[in-house]
């Protein structure tokens, strides 16, 4: 079983700051981390490998510094890492990103056939969730998005059983291998990295490829050129006709508020539990 996990280096959006003057992202303000959903994707691949045997590889597209998230993936238990890094990839939207990654996946599959691709549900810097399903289309694999549980891997039958999050619940799905999954955080808990993994990660150097290493590539589909979407403008959202800030001491404000809420009694009904 050869499982490949696509991982992305992202700024930690919890910490990132926006420059209020220019409305742009101050990238220096945020540490770069392994996208949290991708960490779960790597963990799930490692869990599956423990059952079926095989290899877990990770693939990332990004600047040379993205090596750090490949090392992080090795810590979690991945065996091998690939980084595609080239100016030609810069400025890619989701369509151009899925193209570049699928080209790298094709190249990897020449070395070792791929049985499963796992991606995080989305990256926390873009929040789109579009790259995973895009890769699935390009590699002609059935996609199963929003996976919350890998229930059973049937290696003999070349099938996998999954739970997929849905509106108002979940559905149980059987998919043929090879397939592509995108995983939610609920899919597993990230385990503490065993010491040998840490040591391996510290010394690990991933395979780094440029565009030229990917074989036949249509350069017009890469990076900014290959991206149908562009950011038109950035703006702070229209402000709602402001509210009323209450005045006085906290006690006075609390009294005024509960009084105001009583006036809206037609709206809702409280059942106060004492």
């Amino acid at each position: 079983m050869h499982i490949i996990v696509c991982v992305k280096q992202v700024p930690d959006t919890k910490i990132i700051k926006i420059n209020p003057k220019t409305n742009t992202l101050d990238r220096r303000s945020a540490p770069a981390i392994l996208n949290p959903y991708d960490a779960h994707a790597v963990q799930e691949a490692v869990k599956i490998k423990q059952l079926t045997g095989g290899t877990v590889s990770v693939l990332s597209m990004g600047p040379p510094q993205a090596v750090s998230i490949i090392k992080k993936s090795i810590e979690i238990g991945a065996d091998k890492g690939y980084l595609i890094s080239d100016r030609a990839f810069a400025g890619a939207d989701t369509l151009a990103t899925s193209y570049a990654l699928s080209k790298a996946l094709e190249r990897i599959s020449e070395e070792q056939k791929i049985d499963m691709v796992i991606c995080g549900k989305h990256a926390i810097d873009g929040d789109t969730g579009q790259v995973g399903p895009g890769i699935a289309r390009r590699l002609d694999m059935p996609p199963v998005t929003n996976v919350i549980e890998v229930t059973e891997v049937k290696t003999e039958e070349r099938k996998i059983n999954l739970k997929r999050k849905q509106l108002g619940g979940y559905e149980e799905i059987e998919a043929q291998l090879p397939c592509l999954l995108t995983v939610e955080k609920e899919v597993n808990e990230i385990e503490y990295a065993p010491m040998p993994n840490m040591i391996k990660a510290a010394r690990y150097e991933p395979v780094v490829w440029t565009v030229d290493d990917l074989g036949e590539v249509d350069r017009s589909q890469l990076g900014l050129k290959g991206s149908p979407t562009v950011v038109g403008k950035m703006f702070t959202p229209p402000r709602r006709a402001g509210g009323k800030k209450l005045e006085g001491t906290i006690d006075e404000q609390v009294k005024e508020l509960t009084g105001l809420l009583r006036e809206k009694q037609d709206l809702f009904r409280f059942n106060v539990n004492s």
Binding site: P133, P142, T145, G168, Y170, K245, L246, T258
Partner: protein, 341 residues
């Protein structure tokens, strides 16, 4: 590009019912179509869904494309994508909207790849640039502190997924007439590489959240798990549901299902308490359509006060206990209920 015509909406059907977000998109799509002076079409797929086509028209469509096929009984990317692609190639559209639900996002991503076109995710504002006939799809960006307008200048259709509960559905007009176009695709089950074995409905906390009349939500300002307990205390006092921000979820104070915002749930309760919440767009898009919003925050400049109906500037740790006490006192006067509506 000259032949690209019409605004399309993917009509998501679950349990023989049209999802609310699809009706909202018919409302939003109607406005776009009127501005561009083109027809609005619904794309209705499923098994035995033909009878829903008239509803699609009542809610604003001029045309409904229907593919009724047993293979489309339950959503699967491969089957639905084939149906949508074949319609898109035959009839053409210039704008194509999907609900930002698990299925809508999954389908739109696959379709955009095959049509080699642009797709904007989780849009919360839609407009058109009439001169250039461009869809302006705006969404919170970078964890949600600013909005970005995404354009797709050269490829058609221009596609976007749109967050549920941010657009407005029209009131159904039962006299409205439209055209229903049925297509047959003869999909074969044996070509499908996935099977849905079972659908499990979960009456989760999330479901309760979207139905709740009153929600008490807490954010980073609650400080620690003990501080966040105050959110639970207030909610329990007034019989409200508990929710929180992405920060509160990331800090581990709350399960992900209870996160409100761009990457969580969108709610429209009658009363929403936002406590210790600064009001990042990421959060605000998930709650701004609540009927009444109460903000409690010690920073008087916090953007949450811009969306709040009433605001108290103060430390939540001091305000909440007083609020609880006041609710309890009032309820004594009224025999256990604050409101006697």
């Amino acid at each position: 590009m000259g032949e690209s015509l019409g605004v399309w909406v993917f009509i998501e059907v679950n349990d023989k019912k049209i999802e609310g977000v699809s009706l909202e998109l018919l409302g939003a799509g109607r406005q776009l179509a009127d501005k561009l002076n083109v027809p609005l079409a619904g794309v209705l797929l499923g098994d035995g869904v033909k009878n829903l086509a008239s509803d699609v028209i009542y809610y604003g469509a001029d045309i409904v494309y229907v593919v009724d096929d047993p293979v489309l009984k339950l959503y699967r990317t491969e089957a639905y994508m084939k149906a949508v692609i074949s319609l898109a190639e035959k009839y053409k559209s210039e704008i194509f909207l999907y609900g930002a639900t698990p299925n809508g996002k999954d389908l739109a991503s696959a379709v955009a790849t095959d049509l080699s076109t642009g797709l904007t995710a989780d849009t919360t504002m839609l407009d058109v640039d009439l001169d250039k006939r461009l869809l302006e799809a705006s969404r919170p960006a970078f964890g949600g502190n600013i909005m970005a307008t995404i354009l797709c200048k050269k490829h058609r259709p221009q596609m976007a997924t749109v967050r549920p509960k941010v657009m407005q559905a029209l009131d159904p007009d039962h006299g409205r007439q439209g055209k229903i176009i049925e297509e047959e695709l003869h999909l074969r089950e044996e070509d499908m590489r996935t099977r849905v074995l079972r659908i499990v409905k979960e009456v989760t906390k999330t479901a309760n959240l979207s139905e709740a009349d009153v929600i008490v939500a807490g954010g980073k300002g609650m400080g620690d798990p003990q501080g966040f307990q105050l959110i639970h205390d207030l909610a329990e006092t007034i019989g409200a549901s508990v929710a929180g921000t992405r920060d509160a979820v990331e800090a581990g104070w709350l399960p992900h299902e209870l996160q409100i915002g761009q990457t969580g749930e969108t709610v429209t309760p009658k009363l929403y308490f936002a406590i210790g919440i600064s009001g990042a767009i990421q959060h605000v898009v998930g709650m701004k359509n609540s009927e009444l919003i109460i903000a409690i925050n010690k920073d008087p400049n916090a953007p949450i006060f811009d969306v709040a109906t009433y605001g108290i500037v103060g430390d939540a740790h001091e305000v909440i206990p007083k609020l609880i006490q006041q609710f309890k006192e009032l309820s004594k006067e009224k025999g256990g209920e604050l409101s006697y509506a």
